[in-house]
């Protein structure tokens, strides 16, 4: 097997997260600082050891804000990735690239948001704009005047299409919501830790944008997550077992579209999502395939987002995502337990960053829904504009 350049060369040496809530009462900078300090301490390092910072393009906290807050004294590299939820895997990819090219040695990767008490992404990026909408490459003039403004509506249109094409059902989407909720019920830190969900509960939840219901939608969360990335060699000398970054990949669709979110509906085939290409690249770089994955953290802004990824990441055939969802495979004890902290749907919505933290926990035997003996974890980031994913591996 061809050895890909970055395979297993870098590792996650430390992880950190704040509490997840509806109202943090703290600034986004404070949240970012708390998660970062936790990740740095977990690695057994000091803020002065950090020489690189990578952020999400939607984050209101910039690299210099965070460096100042933490007391980082020798910042030599920074970068940003996006858009939004597509960022986290790409952020890790930037950190890996910077480390392997000698631009930095210890890189902090973070996402911080007051996603419920502050700016609520679910209402759409244009929510605060008044007057004529669109132009300047946003293409929003073709969507917002028609009431099409939110990611939930965009995914509802894709879900409707998937249902029509393949016979996918609401109950099958419900199994994804329930798998995430079941994991959250074991995770005391999850926003939905104490709220159980039956199929009856799921089906009775209010319709938001048909065919998607309230429980098909992710949470809105105030909180932050951070990880420290360094070389595997160095990580082996630090405080915690290194979580190897076996491979990372980003990708777009064959037919890209400008703008954010809704314009993807105008691609020649909106159902051909970037995750399909990311998966091909990722598995090639890691030198393994879907049957080698022990546990997965799928980006889950909506249940349908997870269902299409089952297909694109090769866990079932195209159109069989619904059958896979209801097969039991994705629940605790199944062949591919998913979103073992509860995911965006039931743990908290940190725009995909909590998925990386939870993936690392699985590789360190620290998950509240630990998959016994798990050696590999797939972690995906947001879609459908573009996407990214990574495979984490236990050090051997």
């Amino acid at each position: 097997m061809e050895q890909f350049g970055h395979r297993d060369q870098c590792a996650i040496a430390g992880i950190g997260a704040t509490d997840f809530s509806k109202s943090s009462g703290r600034s986004v900078l404070t949240l970012a600082t708390q998660a970062s300090l936790a990740a740095i301490a977990d690695a057994g390092l000091q803020p002065q050891d950090v020489d690189g910072i990578v952020r999400c393009d939607f984050d209101v906290v910039s690299h210099n804000d965070l460096a100042n807050s933490l007391g980082v004294t020798d910042l030599s590299y920074w970068g940003a990735c996006g858009p939004g939820g597509a960022a986290p895997a790409g952020m890790i990819g930037q950190a890996v690239g910077a480390i392997l090219s000698g631009q930095a040695s210890t890189i902090l990767v973070y996402r911080s948001m007051n996603g419920r008490s502050g700016f609520r992404l679910g209402k759409g990026r244009s929510q605060e704009l008044t007057g004529p909408i669109g132009g300047n490459g946003t293409y929003e003039e073709f969507f917002v005047p028609y009431g099409l403004a939110s990611p939930g509506q965009m995914w509802a249109l894709l879900a409707q299409r998937h249902m029509q094409s393949y016979g996918t059902t609401s109950e099958q989407l419900g199994h994804i919501a329930m798998a995430c909720r079941e994991a959250a019920n074991s995770n005391p830190g999850a926003q939905m830790a104490d709220r159980t969900m039956t199929m009856e509960d799921y089906l009775a939840s209010t319709m938001i944008s048909s065919p998607l219901r309230l429980f098909d939608y992710c949470l809105e969360t105030d909180g932050a997550c951070a990880v420290v990335v360094t070389s595997t060699e160095r990580a082996r000398d630090l405080a915690r077992p290194p979580v190897l970054i076996s491979a990372v990949a980003q990708g777009g669709s064959r037919d890209m579209q400008g703008g954010i979110s809704s314009p993807i509906l105008m691609r020649p085939d909106p159902m051909e999502l970037p995750s399909r290409r990311v998966a091909e690249t990722l598995y090639r770089r890691a030198g393994i395939g879907p049957s080698d994955i022990d546990v997965a953290q799928f980006y889950d802004c909506f249940t349908i987002t997870v269902l299409v990824q089952f297909e694109d990441y090769g866990f079932c055939d195209q159109g069989e995502g619904g059958a896979f969802a209801e097969s039991g495979a994705i629940r605790k004890g199944g062949s591919l337990p998913i979103n073992t902290s509860g995911g965006n749907l039931s743990d908290g919505y940190i725009h995909g960053m909590s998925h990386i933290v939870e993936g690392a926990r699985q590789m360190r035997d620290e998950s509240t829904s630990q998959v016994p003996g798990a050696e590999t974890c797939l972690v995906t980031s947001g879609l459908p504009i573009s996407s990214g994913a990574m495979i984490l591996r236990r050090d051997s």
């Binding site: 909408i133 099409l148 944008s209």
Partner: protein, 138 residues
């Protein structure tokens, strides 16, 4: 909040203004390459198929088929009173080229049904191309 509170589209963007100019004339126009006829949608000025910067606004039939739809039951922004239904329609004259539309309430719809465009003036200068199900025998 009423329809008067709905945000109007920007109609003077250099890449997309031809669509809105056509709508004011009661026509549906899509941007296309003048040299190789490749459809450039959403509208843009450079043809990635042949490398040409020569583009035109091609008038096409204001008819299509329903690609997908969603009925929104929660208020997202002022001016759009729920329930309302967003439709995506594939144009008959341009394969895999589609546009959105807005219908009140929860209309009976099915993917693949024939649709036709109606031109809705929303102010003195702006006409919003909209879609409605085609009635009667088709």
């Amino acid at each position: 909040m009423s329809a008067a509170d709905r945000p109007p589209p920007v109609t003077d963007d250099p890449d997309t203004s031809g669509f809105w100019e056509a709508a004011r004339r009661g026509e549906l126009a899509i941007r296309a390459c003048s040299d190789c006829a490749h459809v450039l949608h959403l509208p843009k000025g450079y043809c990635d198929a042949c490398g040409s910067w020569n583009t035109e606004w091609r008038v096409v039939a204001p008819t299509g088929t329903l690609y997908s739809w969603t009925t929104t039951e929660r208020e997202l922004r002022p001016g759009f009173e729920p329930p309302y239904t967003v439709v995506l329609v594939d144009l008959d004259d341009a394969p895999n080229t589609r546009l959105a539309g807005l219908l009140d309430g929860r209309p009976e719809l099915r993917i693949g049904m024939p649709m036709r465009m109606v031109f809705e003036p929303i102010d003195a200068d702006t006409v919003l191309p909209q879609w409605e199900p085609m009635r009667g025998p088709t």
